[in-house]
Subunit: 388 residues, 2 copies
């Protein structure tokens, strides 16, 4: 069977094929950048129009009591099942960067007397910048450790480790339960960055006993460009969770306007300032696409898309260097080391295949299972062949 | 002339009367809560639809290079004239709370060796919570001082003072140039919170030599519920501005993905994580209403609305306790101490007059000059009379 026939058959048999119609996506594009910016679910435009014209326009300030004020916790509880979290442990708001700052400072405070923060050496840069900035304020030092050595690196000096669940360059999936257990054995807390795993890979925060986590909603959750991030705090830490961005929206009595800060009970103390409602409710609408699918279905298709991608690479661009694990120890992207990758990606994009470029010379292709077709994968590799 | 005739005449002669048509506002309402949530400019709904369907939906990730990435600085420069700031000193993003944290920590670092932060004793709570949290991390102490005593309270131990330009309860307008000069005489930095002044009162940050400032865009700038806040850093401090939320979007080479943080030149180093584009561009559209008006016109009408409010109070609810300065030493709200104010406001809202309540027993009425009519003011006070 030709690759073209195989792609057509895989698309015809795909149990998630119908989900693509729920996205407003140019049919002429092979869009393989959902690991950077998810495509817009159709429901978002409708919801935005209603929020602006009806809620803001007609109900005005009254809308704060009609669903706006509690949106961060309510939407957090919608994301929670995708992260393996029970209710009341996830809150939405602020950027990933800002939530990382809350999480690192809070984790350092939860585990006093230990002067060191371990950092995933291949981390997305912002995690490292924030770990260093938090450490400067709390008096900790940051030590960068390859993830493979994280379990053995943790010791009696380690307050916490900040680790990415999926490496943003290679797409490697890290062993969240195993590393978490090893950190706990050393008395350290585990803080996970789920940006490249949530919505692509089953995440089981509660089961693994993860302490704190942050995640992004504009990649595989399709919340829109720069949509609000989320923060997870394990139930056992909620009473003592002590984060530095003590805004009025996280106060026990936000409208009491008292001069002393007292954090609200539960995950609400992860809130900071007035929630950004337009973006928050765009995300809320975007999450509707998860109503009739499971993360296991999405994972299965994501892996199958990746396997087909690799098969196409081997057939059409043999010898190309695949930097993503070929076994299933990966998230939901395939990355290739490619000569002059930046120029190569610009050419692919001109030809309607959208992935992205990351230094030093890596082409990334995201495989968002809710809307990527096997035909999109084949087309991408065909265009790669044309570059040679 | 009856108050009703006077209101009609004032509305007929109002040079800004035509601006109201640019807002999507229920004609049946007397909406006097623009100091809490500005009304939606009509252009916002149209712009949101285009951003979601065209920019996000059609251009996808390419939109980052087509106006998204630079939106925080570009929109900052649109706000700058309303704050009396030259270009390149204002950046939009994050909440007011988060920007306060950046500003307080950065100001403390800019003025080392001084252990004390002075805080406006009547401050909006979040300013105090953040000042305390920042002080806990930087080793400073916070001392609360009435604004009237701020100039004399600053001394050789004072690193900075955080002061509100307009008091959120009373509406009193504080002496920004005078207090700033007094702080500077003591060697302290001046950090101003403009939430209740920007878009209502001329603010002259550069002329007054203010060091740092933050402001809100969802009140008199009509950016939408929880829309992104802004941060001002005086030009002379830009090279040494050292803020703690060191995210990738503020990095000198954000797409270089280097492990060490190095802040970008200029105001961009006030950025943190990925900018929240839907809310950012809603604000951008909302700012279009300022194209053909000056802040001086808005100020003149705001004061005239307030004067008429006070005249109606004296005529219709004589003896009511006005807590806002009757002279023009006020921002753009009138506040009344009123028995059982919370219940009273609920009744007013049922009757179509929307203001708000703040503890202990204060009714607030905001007078957003771009859409509030003199008739709205009279109606509010008539409904107050009916409560007696």
């Amino acid at each position: 069977m030709s690759l073209r026939d195989e792609a057509a058959e895989l698309d015809a048999l795909d149990p998630l094929a119908g989900k693509r119609a729920e996205f407003d996506l140019d049919p002429e594009l092979s869009y393989l950048d959902g690991n950077s910016l998810g495509a817009p679910p159709r429901g978002v435009a409708t919801r935005m129009a209603a929020v602006v014209s009806e809620q803001w326009g007609r109900r005005l300030i009254r809308s704060w009591d009609e669903g706006w004020w509690d949106a961060p916790e309510r939407i957090g509880d919608r994301i929670a099942p995708l992260a393996g979290a029970g209710p009341g442990q996830v809150v939405v708001g602020d950027s990933t960067t800002v939530n990382l700052f809350k999480a690192v400072v809070a984790a350092a405070r939860l585990n006093p007397g230990r002067p060191e923060i371990l950092l995933d050496a291949g981390t997305f840069p912002t995690d490292g910048y924030i770990a260093e900035s938090a450490a400067r304020l709390t008096g900790h030092t940051v030590r960068r450790v390859p993830v493979a050595e994280m379990a053995s690196a943790a010791g009696s000096r380690t307050a916490l480790a900040l680790v990415n669940h999926v490496d943003y360059v290679t797409g490697a999936l890290h062993d969240l339960p195993g590393i978490t257990a090893a950190l706990h054995s050393a008395g350290a807390l585990a803080v996970w960055d789920l940006c490249h795993s949530v919505g692509a890979v089953p995440v089981r925060l509660d089961a693994a006993g993860v302490d704190l986590a942050v995640g992004c909603t504009y990649k595989f959750l399709n919340g829109g460009p720069g949509s609000p991030a989320f923060l997870y705090v394990a139930r056992k830490w909620l009473p003592s969770f002590d984060q530095p961005l003590t805004g009025w929206a996280g106060h026990a009595d936000p409208f009491g306007m008292t001069p002393e800060y007292s954090g609200r009970t539960g995950i609400s103390r992860g809130r900071t300032g007035t929630p950004d409602i337009l973006s928050m409710l765009a995300l809320d609408a975007a999450l509707d696409v998860w109503g009739d699918v499971t993360i296991e279905q999405v994972r299965a298709k994501g892996l199958a898309l990746g396997d087909f991608f690799l098969k196409c690479v081997d057939a059409l661009v043999p010898g190309a260097r695949v930097v993503t694990p070929r076994d299933h120890g990966r998230g939901n992207q395939i990355s290739l080391a490619w000569p002059d990758a930046k120029t190569a990606m610009a050419t692919l994009i001109e030809r309607g295949v959208i992935g992205d470029f990351r230094p030093p010379e890596v082409l990334r292709f995201g495989l968002a299972a809710l809307y990527v077709r096997y035909g999109d994968v084949l087309r991408a590799v065909e265009e790669l062949r044309a570059l040679r």
